[in-house]
């Protein structure tokens, strides 16, 4: 039975993979079917997962076993219920409170950490003496990093018209930005091709057993 279910699962996965790929030729009922099954399954999976892996162990089990000791959990429970009131038109304004709390708390929590890791540490990383390195590659690389950072930041300085002398660092900044976009594009291509490799590997190895 287990073997049958494994084989059935592989054939089902192959069918859905090919159905999604069929969109590359043109939109068709197989693609639409696969897409809608995926959307429906994902939604139901998340619902069940949330109930069984978040709500039951973190809320219901704790309140059920020791209600008095976990009274504090009633606060997030009430906030959660308020959030669900979005579905009741007359009471949907109540959902603003848990939302406001969430936004305020997460913004406050991440502000300091983000300031340190994305601003202070990143600035400190550019404050290096390029000539302290022994390898010419490191020296050139560090100079490029410093020039690129300064010119890149200058490109986004909009309080003064970028003409004359101010046009030069701005232009250099654009070049650095273009290079970074090119690198991002290269990485994106690699990621997309990897996905294709994954699916073809599944079809050729697990489904058709052509490759070992």
């Amino acid at each position: 039975m287990a073997n049958f279910m494994t084989t059935f699962g592989i054939w089902l996965a192959a069918f859905f993979t090919l159905s999604i790929f069929s969109f590359l030729y043109k939109d068709n009922p197989f693609y639409k079917f696969a897409e809608q099954v995926f959307v429906g399954l994902s939604a139901s999976y998340w619902l069940v997962y949330t109930i069984y892996n978040i709500l039951i162990p973190n809320l219901f089990n704790k309140l059920g076993t020791d209600f008095r000791g976990n009274l504090i959990l009633l606060i997030p429970m009430i906030l959660g219920i308020l959030m669900l009131l979005r579905m009741v038109p007359k009471l949907q304004w109540l959902s603003r409170y848990p939302l406001a709390l969430m936004i305020g708390t997460s913004a406050a929590m991440s502000m300091l950490l983000s300031f340190k890791s994305d601003f202070l540490s990143q600035m400190a990383a550019t404050m290096v003496n390029p000539f302290s390195f022994s390898s010419p590659v490191d020296i050139v690389g560090t100079i490029l990093m410093i020039v690129g950072t300064l010119c890149g930041v200058f490109f986004f300085y909009f309080s003064k018209k970028q003409e004359g002398f101010f046009k030069v660092p701005s232009k250099i900044g654009i070049w650095f930005l273009m290079v970074s976009f090119g690198a991002s594009f290269g990485y994106t291509v690699m990621a997309r091709i990897s996905l294709l490799i994954g699916r073809l590997d599944f079809l050729l190895r697990d489904w058709l057993h052509i490759i070992k």
Partner: protein, 290 residues
């Protein structure tokens, strides 16, 4: 009869060629080799530098949609950590992370058993543990910095934190020697950098999908916000190379390389055609005006 747009046909030809460019090297491997880069070497060196018996965290912050890129990294990192005798604690910021962790642990165990049937295999609870999924990202990691047990009262089998031998001496995140987040997005590596490294000064390394790699590169600096970064299938292949075996990622580099050459040629071809068309249009416009 409705006339089919020429660009649509051309697009289909490109798709077909791309599929062939990926499929053929999978059927007939070209034997292309990859070389390790400093970013990958840095992750390897981090694991090498930690002594035997140290508790470490591998965070499985991804789901099955990216297993082609990230699962080979997970396999190589687990194998490396186990070979060094580290006690691996698996956590997950993504709901399907625990299943990915289980799958990776079992796969590495099977491989080790195949390599040496008489060797003692890592034991669950003693050498590794899967603490499961916890939502919250940044908040959860901050909580781990105060009290790990409060965040993960039990593992995925339901066993209580205090009953797991591996976790006996692990009270907070500060007891961890390094964190490696295998991350496909948010929450993930960025939260570990900001909190584990930024707040608790625990060394953090990462493995990400190729799409998100450029965003994390600035963190690998002399500030050591990231102790190395594995970006996409290429880095996974590099890590396999450092570990001395050819796994799924190394095999995937053959089709990857051929597909990249094809895309380069297509970009070149497209640009030449576009330039010629622009020139022809310009000439036509001049003739009309003149």
């Amino acid at each position: 009869m409705k006339k089919v747009d020429r660009t649509v046909i051309e697009r289909r030809i490109v798709f077909l060629i791309l599929v062939l460019a990926v499929m053929l090297p999978m059927l007939f491997p070209l034997g292309l080799k990859t070389q390790s880069t400093p970013l990958t070497q840095k992750v390897y060196d981090l694991i090498e530098s930690v002594p035997t018996g140290a508790p470490v965290i591998l965070s499985f912050d991804y789901d099955p949609s990216v297993i082609t890129e990230i699962q080979p990294m997970a396999l190589a990192l687990i194998e490396h950590a186990w070979k060094k005798g580290h006690k691996v604690i698996a956590t997950a910021m993504w709901p399907q992370g625990p299943q990915m962790a289980d799958r990776a642990f079992n796969e590495v165990k099977e491989k080790l058993a195949e390599q040496n049937p008489e060797a003692e295999l890592p034991e669950y609870g003693k050498d590794y543990v899967n603490l499961g999924y916890k939502p919250g990202g940044l908040v959860t990691i901050q909580g781990m910095g105060r009290n790990m047990k409060a965040i993960f009262p039990s593992d995925i089998t339901g066993k209580k934190y205090e009953e797991i031998p591996l976790l006996e001496k692990v009270r907070t995140l500060k007891d961890i020697r390094y964190v490696i987040s295998l991350s496909a997005g948010d929450p993930g590596l960025r939260d570990w950098i900001m909190t584990a490294k930024g707040k608790f000064n625990v060394p953090v390394a990462g493995g990400t999908t190729a799409v998100s790699t450029p965003g994390f590169l600035p963190y690998v600096s002399d500030q050591d916000q990231l102790h190395g970064l594995l970006g996409g299938l290429k880095s996974a292949a590099e890590y396999e190379l450092l570990m001395g075996y050819e796994g799924d990622a190394s095999r995937g580099m053959n089709p990857q390389s051929v597909a990249h050459i094809l895309i380069l040629l297509l970009i070149l071809f497209g640009n030449i055609r576009a330039a010629r068309k622009r020139k022809a249009d310009k000439l036509a416009l001049e003739e009309n005006n003149g």
